[in-house]
Symmetry: C2
Subunit: 343 residues, 2 copies
DNA sequence: CTGTTAGCGCCTTCAA
DNA sequence: TTGAAGGCGCTAACAG
């Protein structure tokens, strides 16, 4: 009974490989071999070791293993808001892709703050993650690239091409176009747009897509019908109110994302404006909950689960030194019940 | 120029403490001291070391540090569904409480599957997490307790008291009572209940609270008004449909959680039943999105963000060996617009 | 104040 | 097939 009570780690700390070796009457190397299946080991020793492992309830210390091997089998994942359904879905995709690979995601949030993002990434790197998945955020390409010098990086919502980095963005401009085009096809001509936070490229792109669709249809855009939101519900309600108060008539709203649409929907409800009878509304994202709004929301779907899966798979390849190709997932129009033909 | 190319870890792997020591012309111990601020170090050496650190862009390898110190400064967090808004909020609370403490959450999902849960926890333990936060799930108290022999554990949605474990549950029975009572106070007498998955204690408890409120008010419960859901939206729509088809009249629905209420709301919308004019509806949870449903949902609030924070704080204390007290957060009725006085 | 000496727990040549 | 030895990067006595 060796008194190891001096160890910081409290009692529970399971047995060590060396202890297993001793109780099995073999060397540590042999135990390691059995664990990692290197060279052949005699059946008798193998049995003894396995018995010892069971008896001591031995679990290899992954930390030590990582230190030795130089790979931690962890991927850092930087999200922005853990509480956003948008990120949650992406995370789920990452998790799905990683499950069973031996890699574990180490998650941190940057809260859309470049300084915080960089800080969190540095911490993850210090923990020796074998790769980084950066989900959106406001980091510059330069910074991202600099990180990629330490460890492979795949980033969504960024554009970047470096030896060990990969980034991809869904085509927000096209998405904005698709949404607006849908409204146009339904006969709408006075179409309002509630933008996202214009500090984000995606918000700018969706606005551009909206304008392109209008222009292409020969519909004169009215700048008073473009008001800014912030990708969150409260921004949606405020923007919708501003729109309604401006006195410029319109028959449809394209909201920069579903959350904005939810907010707008509430503002409309407050004023007794029916959707879609009085006004059509289209969102962007297709959050899971958009299937259950009243009425269910028409929107442009971003397959975030797929995006997460794709990011994780690509990182897996990068880490293995394989070339990582990316087939960028496509946006699609999901017609539900908040849009209808005019008149 | 030492060729370390043999190392598995690719080039980027930042400089080692020893290298810093060498380029600064001091011993490794001195560098370590400067980093961790132990004993005093002469200004000259300190400068030299700091210069070397900057020059080599040195970051201590947290893995090695953890191995040596016997603490990984990571907490394992077991959630069930990363994509559920309910868990997302709790996670956010955990994150908030941990931010700035030096601890990092290592997150894994058990998907409400006891085997998977145990498996994930074992992996986290193998990674030497210093503590575990278990968010709900179906693990038995025995299992939980067994894990707590290795490492401090705090669990939400469980009941457990062990030397190094702490668990707490919000009072679901009371919540069910509060919800039903609210409806009763509004004059409703025929109140339907869509339960959660009855394999969960919370679902059973909410049902019990519902029955108690009814009994206390002298309202004869009609078992045909109790139908089962599964805590998810689709279960809500199916249950509502069953209720509507059963032909037993009712004027209000208490849904076991908000997601179930969303589903029920959709079913109602499909049939042209207005909320709250024709039927009152109350949920349970107060998910962030319940503020933006049409109309905004009346519900029983579970302060999940607080729960997450509380769990993390308690674990922090347990790990420090301090006694962890728990003031269990309280449920509260949030009256919005889906319930109204009868007639 | 500072360097030397031992490891943390594991893996991996290198000999035997 | 197996064991001994060395070391991953860092910290913590213990001497000076």
């Amino acid at each position: 009974m060796k008194t190891k009570s001096k160890t910081p780690r409290e009692a529970g700390g399971s047995a060590t490989l060396l202890e297993v070796a001793r109780t099995a009457g073999v060397s540590a190397a042999t135990v390691s071999r059995i664990l990692n299946g290197g060279t052949r080991v005699s059946a008798s020793k193998r049995e003894a070791v396995e018995a010892a492992i069971a008896a001591l309830n031995f679990k290899p210390n992954l930390l030590a293993q990582s230190l030795k091997r130089g790979r931690s089998m962890m991927f850092g994942v930087l999200t922005q808001d853990v509480d956003s359904p948008f990120f949650a879905e992406t995370l789920l995709g990452v998790e799905a892709a990683l499950s069973g690979t031996g890699y574990e995601p180490l998650i941190a949030s940057g809260h859309w703050n470049p300084k915080e993002e960089a800080d969190r990434i540095r911490r993850l790197l210090a923990r020796q993650v074998d790769g980084m998945i950066v989900l959106f955020g406001r980091l510059s390409n330069d910074e991202l690239q600099r990180f990629s010098e330490h460890v492979p990086v795949v980033a969504t919502g960024h554009e970047l091409r470096a030896p060990r980095a990969l980034a991809f963005r869904l085509d927000s401009e096209l998405g904005g176009y698709i949404a607006t085009r849908h409204l146009l096809d339904l006969g709408h001509r006075s179409i309002a747009h509630i933008t996202g936070d214009l500090a984000h490229a995606d918000a700018v792109d969706r606005l551009a897509g909206y304008r392109r669709a209008l222009a292409e249809a020969g519909v004169p855009g009215d700048e008073r019908l473009v008001v800014s939101g912030n990708f969150k519900e409260p921004g949606g309600v405020m923007a919708a109110n501003r729109l309604l108060d401006a006195g410029v008539p319109f028959t449809a709203i394209f909201a920069a994302n579903d959350q904005t649409a939810y907010g707008a929907r509430l503002a409309l409800y407050r004023r007794g404006i029916r959707v879609p009878e009085d006004l059509s509304l289209i969102g962007f994202d297709d959050l899971p909950s958009s299937l259950y709004t009243t009425p269910p929301l028409t929107t442009v779907r971003q397959p975030m689960f797929e995006v997460g899966k794709l990011a994780a798979r690509s990182l897996l390849k990068l880490v293995e030194g394989e070339p990582a190709d990316v087939e960028i997932p496509e946006l699609s129009l999901v017609i539900r019940e908040t849009t209808r033909r005019l008149r």
